[in-house]
């Protein structure tokens, strides 16, 4: 019987919320090896090869980020890279630092 849900062959999409952003938000669970389309409000603006699993709602890097580079979502800095991140990598608390509100 055919399984419901997204199969590897289906198109996967991530949402880039602001043109200045260097991350996009996964709109489905992404797996390493996926080619993910990047959608902006004015249309699709490219693809990113996913390097590691990125869960729904989590961030995938749209560019290579150097250590301490600003991570930009909604057009604003939400933290900085705690380690170098490659385009297609997962960005979250393990490699993003932001002390604001944590002390």
């Amino acid at each position: 019987m055919h399984q419901e849900g997204l199969s590897a062959s289906q198109t996967k999409t991530a949402l880039k919320l602001n043109t200045k952003d260097n991350v996009a938000i996964a709109l489905t669970d992404l797996a390493a090896g996926d080619v993910c389309r990047v959608r902006e409000d004015h249309g699709e603006t490219g693809e990113v090869g996913v390097l590691e699993d990125v869960a729904f709602g989590h961030k995938v890097a749209l560019a290579d980020l150097a250590q301490d580079a600003p991570v930009v979502k909604y057009g604003e800095e939400i933290g900085r890279a705690g380690a170098p991140v490659r385009k297609g990598g997962w960005i979250h608390t393990h490699n993003l630092y932001c002390d604001r509100g944590m002390k």
């Binding site: 999409t13 949402l15 919320l17 938000i25 996964a26 709109l27 959608r39 409000d41 004015h42 869960a55 729904f56 709602g57 989590h58 961030k59 991570v71 979502k73 909604y74 604003e76 800095e77 939400i78 933290g79 960005i91 979250h92 608390t93 993003l96 932001c98 604001r100 509100g101 944590m102």
Partner: protein
């Protein structure tokens, strides 16, 4: 030519989007009498609460200001205030505050009438007369600039910050561009993004006010954490937030702030007060859903827009609450409660701009009389007055 809706113009120039008579208790002791009177007359809504006595100082004054503000809200055509007689916030005192709006308002004091039944009988007659007068009023074409919406949210999830909130921000910007107003609050949830909101202030004084209210809220929170037994928790971000994909406090705060779009902040004002300017306004109010809505209604908001990721059924007596979810699954599970599915942004059926346009058109439709699902099902949970320590 600007956008319009069909509303009820009031004596003071404000416009109601509903035309109900309110029966407001000045004190909790009058709640049942107020409810019974409202039940007796169709087109009437009860405004009851647990406060009005045993309060002092700023807490008492804020309760008074909030009750008077809610009574002045143009959605209510007339108001009967029911008091007991010996309470802190008396019915005649509230009548004075509500009468500033120019609408009909009367007091009923239980101890003066004799007992529950006599008070209900007299109150029913007064409200019957008010409801007949309200029923004779007709909707007229009014400019969208007469609208004030409250921005609120509750039961948020991952989709709130990426679909429902940014789509509501698009709708809020459209209303502000028409000359209308939009009230942002839930100040504790803005902590971490205050520098970004302050940058949007219309002038340096408003920028200072933005930083001051958010700073005060953070200081109060820190004080409470230090004096509580839960000092090990982070009170701004939860494990569930992290699991959902939020990576920092700034990330979370921005997701909430997206409800306010990109309009400049015109004014910051206190809970219980009404703004003096139009545009995007910041109310110094708490994060609890009902308390936030109540402050917005007291400030004159005729409609509350309410993104909810996991879904909540609540409504406000006499004020439409438009529920918006960014979560397609929540929309299908809670179809009877959710008005707008902005989960179309997740599934790719709509862009944020298109979802925002859908919300804006729904605001105009609801303003013209379309009942929200919370209204149709009779949900009234959000009338909750915030307290001061």
């Amino acid at each position: 030519m600007g956008d319009t809706f069909l509303g009820y113009p009031r004596e003071n120039g404000a416009v109601g989007v509903r035309n109900q008579v309110a029966v407001m208790a000045s004190v909790f002791c009058a709640a049942t009498v107020a409810q019974r009177i409202a039940q007796n007359v169709p087109g009437t809504v009860a405004l009851v609460h647990p406060l009005g006595c045993g309060q002092v100082g700023n807490d008492l004054e804020m309760t008074y200001a909030t009750l008077a503000g809610v009574g002045r809200n143009p959605n209510f055509s007339a108001v009967l205030v029911v008091g007991l007689g010996c309470e802190r916030i008396t019915a005649p005192e509230l009548v004075l505050g509500i009468a500033e709006s120019g609408k009909r308002v009367e007091a009923l004091v239980i101890q003066e009438e004799g007992d529950t039944l006599q008070a209900i009988r007299k109150g029913t007659a007064i409200v019957r007369d008010m409801a007949q007068a309200a029923g004779a009023q007709r909707r007229q074409e009014c400019p969208a600039s007469a609208l004030t919406i409250g921005l609120n949210c509750g039961a948020s999830d991952t989709t709130s910050g990426i679909a429902a909130n940014p789509a509501l921000g698009v709708a809020s910007d459209k209303l502000v561009a028409q000359g209308g107003s939009s009230i942002l609050t839930e100040v504790t949830e803005l902590i971490g993004a205050e520098h970004i909101l302050a940058r949007r202030a219309v002038d340096p004084k408003v920028a200072e006010d933005v930083l001051a209210v958010i700073g005060k809220s953070e200081a109060m929170l820190k004080n409470r954490i230090q004096t509580s037994c839960s000092a090990r928790r982070n009170h701004l971000i939860t494990t569930g937030n992290y699991e959902g994909g939020l990576s920092s406090v700034v990330d979370k705060a921005l997701g909430g702030m997206m409800k306010s779009g990109s309009a400049p902040v015109a004014e910051v004002f206190a809970y219980g007060d009404a703004p003096t300017r139009k545009g995007l306004l910041l109310l110094d109010g708490p994060g609890q859903d009902g308390e936030a809505s109540t402050g917005q209604v007291a400030a004159g908001a005729q409609i509350i827009c309410f993104p909810t990721g996991r879904g909540t059924p609540t409504g406000f007596p006499g004020v439409p609450v438009i529920k918006i979810t960014g979560n397609p699954r929540t929309y299908s599970l809670m179809k009877e409660n959710i008005d707008i599915n902005a989960g179309t942004v997740i599934t790719g059926e709509q862009t944020l701009r298109e979802a925002g346009e859908t919300i804006y058109q729904e605001i105009l439709a609801v303003a013209s009389g379309k009942p929200t699902k919370a209204e149709a099902l009779g949900h009234h949970e959000q009338f909750c007055i915030a307290r001061l320590p």
